[in-house]
Symmetry: D2
Subunit: 150 residues, 4 copies
Amino acid sequence: MNIIMSKTITYLQRVEFGDCDPAGIVWFPNFFRWIDAASRHFFIECGVPPWHETEKTTGVIGTPLVDTHARFVKTASYGDVLHVRVHVAEWRDKSFVQRYRIERVNPDKTGDEMTLIMECEEVRIFAARREDGAGIRALPIPAEIRALCS
Amino acid sequence: MNIIMSKTITYLQRVEFGDCDPAGIVWFPNFFRWIDAASRHFFIECGVPPWHETEKTTGVIGTPLVDTHARFVKTASYGDVLHVRVHVAEWRDKSFVQRYRIERVNPDKTGDEMTLIMECEEVRIFAARREDGAGIRALPIPAEIRALCS
Amino acid sequence: MNIIMSKTITYLQRVEFGDCDPAGIVWFPNFFRWIDAASRHFFIECGVPPWHETEKTTGVIGTPLVDTHARFVKTASYGDVLHVRVHVAEWRDKSFVQRYRIERVNPDKTGDEMTLIMECEEVRIFAARREDGAGIRALPIPAEIRALCS
Amino acid sequence: MNIIMSKTITYLQRVEFGDCDPAGIVWFPNFFRWIDAASRHFFIECGVPPWHETEKTTGVIGTPLVDTHARFVKTASYGDVLHVRVHVAEWRDKSFVQRYRIERVNPDKTGDEMTLIMECEEVRIFAARREDGAGIRALPIPAEIRALCS
């Protein structure tokens, strides 16, 4: 039996007043802001250089999204501290699957330490600029990035 | 044979410079900002009062998201004009499915008029504040809203 | 006596649910999003090409902000339609002053047609990338842009 | 001679990819997002309860902005870590002045430790909901909040 462990990074995010809507809870597009930041930090924490450096070396300008599926379990509000746990669940030829689990730190010491707020699964690509300057194109998964992140 | 037609609303959105990231394309959380606006405009266009009015009558404070699945097909950039087409695909007991199709208006008159940029399918609820003030709860689909929107 | 008239553009903006905070009013950084969009539309409406085109011709990549001063007069909320009126109040050697007046369209037909929401005065520059790739630098005001916008 | 020292709080902010625009630098409305968060954290750090609590006790629902003046000195980009230093510079009858200084932590150990990115001075009020439900009104500065923050 093979057990494949994958690197998991935890990204911390405070919820601010301005992240919340008139219902007093996080306005959901903000979760995607934080997930995108967590995605980038995953690569940084694994030792991948920032995109403005990889653009000059391997051509990678970022990891745009192809598909995302999110499930919202509980609401969060300002004052909350969130943990975004992120890992790469699958490497494909020209894309990869990144999974997220956002949990809220429970301030009172009773009960569970963390509460699940939302989960998300994405398909992303490594993108380069097109030669004709019109938009972007998917690169094969760079072997050195995959090695750093697995 | 029954053909059920559902009301479809088209919401127009210009893409601005600040909506785009260092790769020069729309930063994806902004698509969810526009989808949320299109969702609300769907109800307004169907004749449902704004949430700050329904809060006083039926208790509805908004339609928070339970689940979303989006597929990104082409990139968009500033200067583009997008059409967000939205309808309710399914009414359930305490939730409903809203579907979106975002297309870009092609500025030159050759070829297709519109290009598909992204598609999204959401599950949302009608929410009220909880009596204890802690968060929100799902209401049964209000019959009068369903009637207006079908 | 000389009366100098300057071109004024009106940019329309709907206020959305997600633009508002838990107090139910527009969260103020969103006003700056709209002001930035109005600034860009001013140049577009005056006939200046988009920045991704000027980058190739004159080197201009945008008009970053040097200084801004805003005064908030009344609140706005979702459902409101705002008019952002923008013009260039002054051309300097390497910067220019852009002024904004945001007014809300009053939905009921009694009283004034518009209500002043906020005013803003900015100093901006025309920026090019630095040759060493590190950040941006101010260009002298391009004569052809000034001619189009005055 | 009286020297009045005022409490100063430092709020840390990472700059993310999505905070930057196609010119590769922070899109300026994001600075106001961070300034607003720093403003709120100032009160929290001084021991003032969050606004959803003060709403029930003193009626305070937040500190909306009346006037802001910002000066942008250097650009910042993703990967940067910013320090937002905030204090109350003046207490008036129904408003107060909050000042901010945003500095970037220089990653390399040569030269200065910090680089000034922007400065901002705001006038804010403590707001309560109006009795008629239409918008907000300014409260006299709550003595207990002033005492905690001075």
